[in-house]
């Protein structure tokens, strides 16, 4: 699919390659610099928790809704989470409306894995009546503007919304809308750090133009205690073992930085 849009970016990707070869990025950042992160919380009154994340010009909004549902038959004493990402057609000329495409599915599943596998939410504590009723925490993100690195943007808005989330009040296992019983308990804060291979260089937090020039992408979800809970390689290119080693070390560092920023923005109120 070559739209006019794509051709322009293709031409720009040559410039991107040239500049990154010299260790500089088009926007003046160093290879391992993130764009400025900004988080706003309480974006939606009706959500149980919500946040908007900006990474440079990339922007996503996440709302958390907790509902009471029947547990899965194979885990009767556990609640669960559901992570979705919607690439809104208003966010980019290349996004179309309709059911989620491959890109959106991969994106939401990687964000999901980082949170699920780190056991950020204790599924046992989400159980209400074993085999009958449990909490299901829906974490739905909407991409508002696509300026690159949607993986990390959606991960950050999802985590911020979870930190902002209050547990709805229950009466006889029915939700009383508008009343709450304290904050949702989180055991850790997994953060995605996504790398791109452009030429022979590794960069973090790609811009839209850089994503057109990259050969492969690699995401790592890290959390407290130098552990990681998800890896995902994407794109047609490859990584060597030593490149992945390097990415993991950087991801621990960047994860810590982003986590402390996240706490500053989303930690306090509500």
């Amino acid at each position: 699919m070559s739209t006019k849009e794509d051709i322009i970016w293709e031409l720009r990707s040559e410039e991107v390659l040239k500049s990154i070869k010299q260790g500089k990025r088009m926007d003046g950042r160093d290879l391992l610099d993130y764009r400025t992160l900004k988080i706003e919380t309480n974006v939606s009154e009706n959500a149980d928790g919500s946040a908007r994340a900006f990474l440079g010009e990339s922007q996503s909004i996440t709302g958390v809704k907790m509902i009471v549902d029947k547990p899965y038959p194979d885990n009767p004493d556990e609640g669960t989470i559901s992570v979705g990402v919607e690439l809104l057609p208003l966010a980019s000329p290349t996004f179309e409306s309709g059911p989620p495409k491959t890109e959106a599915i991969e994106l939401s599943r990687v964000v999901d894995r980082g949170i699920r596998e780190a056991k950020t939410l204790d599924f046992k504590k989400l159980s209400l009546v074993a085999g009958e009723k449990c909490w299901v925490v829906f974490i739905d993100s909407y991409v508002i503007n696509h300026a690159g690195n949607l993986f990390d943007t959606c991960s950050l808005s999802s985590m911020a919304a979870l930190m902002n989330c209050r547990v709805p009040k229950l009466e006889e296992n029915k939700i009383v809308r508008g009343e709450f019983e304290g904050k949702l308990e989180l055991t850790n804060l997994p953060i995605l750090t996504t790398f791109a291979k452009i030429g022979n260089q590794i960069v973090v937090d790609t811009s839209y133009a850089e994503e057109k020039a990259m050969s492969a992408r690699f995401s790592i979800a890290t959390f407290e205690g130098k552990k990681f809970s998800a890896l995902q390689k994407g794109g047609h290119g490859s990584f060597t073992q030593s490149e992945v080693d390097h990415c993991i070390d950087i991801a621990f560092e960047k994860g810590d930085e982003l986590r402390s920023q996240l706490k500053k923005f989303a930690g306090g109120k509500r």
Partner: protein
């Protein structure tokens, strides 16, 4: 996830053997046969432990509808699907989010190795059907697809060999089976490489690991992939040895 009512089993015993008697760096039994589908341009049947997989390759052929054509190269269309009877509970045959994600990353694993630039506006369709499964079906699918592509005579820089490594009960293991994947601390890390250069073309992981565990896992994985590569080559040679011997029989 399971085992919640009973004690965790001992995943590696004092003799260094696993639940099914394998060593930590040992894969399950792998059997590969190439050229099994007469209509396909290339094909492969693969058994990997309980996993049973059939892969068929068509192409390069014209990419349709026309708007999917890329004038600079061929597209790779990798379709991973599980038969409804291939899992303990019946699977809804409609492709789910998991099937779609696996198809995407598996297709990407082949983009570097195939000479796609030789076939503008074309598509190479790789259809993989999982007939029976027990952990590690996506790496088995890649391994089978790679043989089917070679069988179809599609020019490639290298084969793609894949294996899953991971963790169960604190041990780093190669090629986890379902029982091991059900460990409470289980880590599943599917990977695929180009064996001659060790370039990593697919890497995923879920579960919690440290950097040291990762290093151990990737080293075991690289070694196991190279063994899989030998089996792939043998399967491809086998087809010609058989063709050659049947020709000789006719001469007699």
């Amino acid at each position: 996830m399971s085992n919640k009512n009973n004690e965790e089993p001992v995943y590696v015993n004092k003799q260094g053997l696993r639940l099914d008697g394998r060593k930590v760096d040992e894969t399950r039994k792998i059997k590969i046969t190439s050229g099994v589908l007469p209509r396909a341009d290339g094909s492969c049947y693969l058994e990997w432990g309980q996993n049973k997989i059939i892969a068929g390759v068509y192409g390069p052929r014209e990419a349709l509808p026309a708007h999917t054509q890329d004038p600079t190269k061929a597209n790779v269309n990798f379709v991973y699907r599980m038969a409804s009877f291939s899992v303990p509970d019946r699977k809804n045959p409609k492709p789910g989010r998991r099937d779609i994600e696996i198809s995407k990353v598996c297709g990407e694993a082949f983009e570097k190795t195939i000479f796609l630039e030789k076939f503008p506006n074309a598509v190479i369709d790789i259809y993989v059907e999982i007939l029976d499964s027990n952990a590690g079906s996506r790496v088995a699918a890649i391994t089978a697809a790679s043989v089917a592509l070679a069988d179809a005579g599609i020019p490639m820089r290298d084969m793609v060999a894949a294996v899953a490594v991971g963790k169960a009960g604190g041990h780093i293991l190669v090629d986890l089976n379902k029982d091991e994947e059900d460990a409470s601390d289980a880590v599943d890390m599917p990977m695929a490489i180009l064996p001659s250069t060790e370039e990593i073309v697919l890497l995923q992981m879920d579960g919690v690991i440290t950097k040291d565990e990762w290093t151990k896992a990737i080293d075991l994985g690289l070694k196991a992939c190279k063994k899989v590569y030998e089996l792939q080559k043998n399967a491809l040679k086998e087809k010609y040895i058989q063709a050659e011997s049947s020709k000789e029989n006719k001469v007699e």
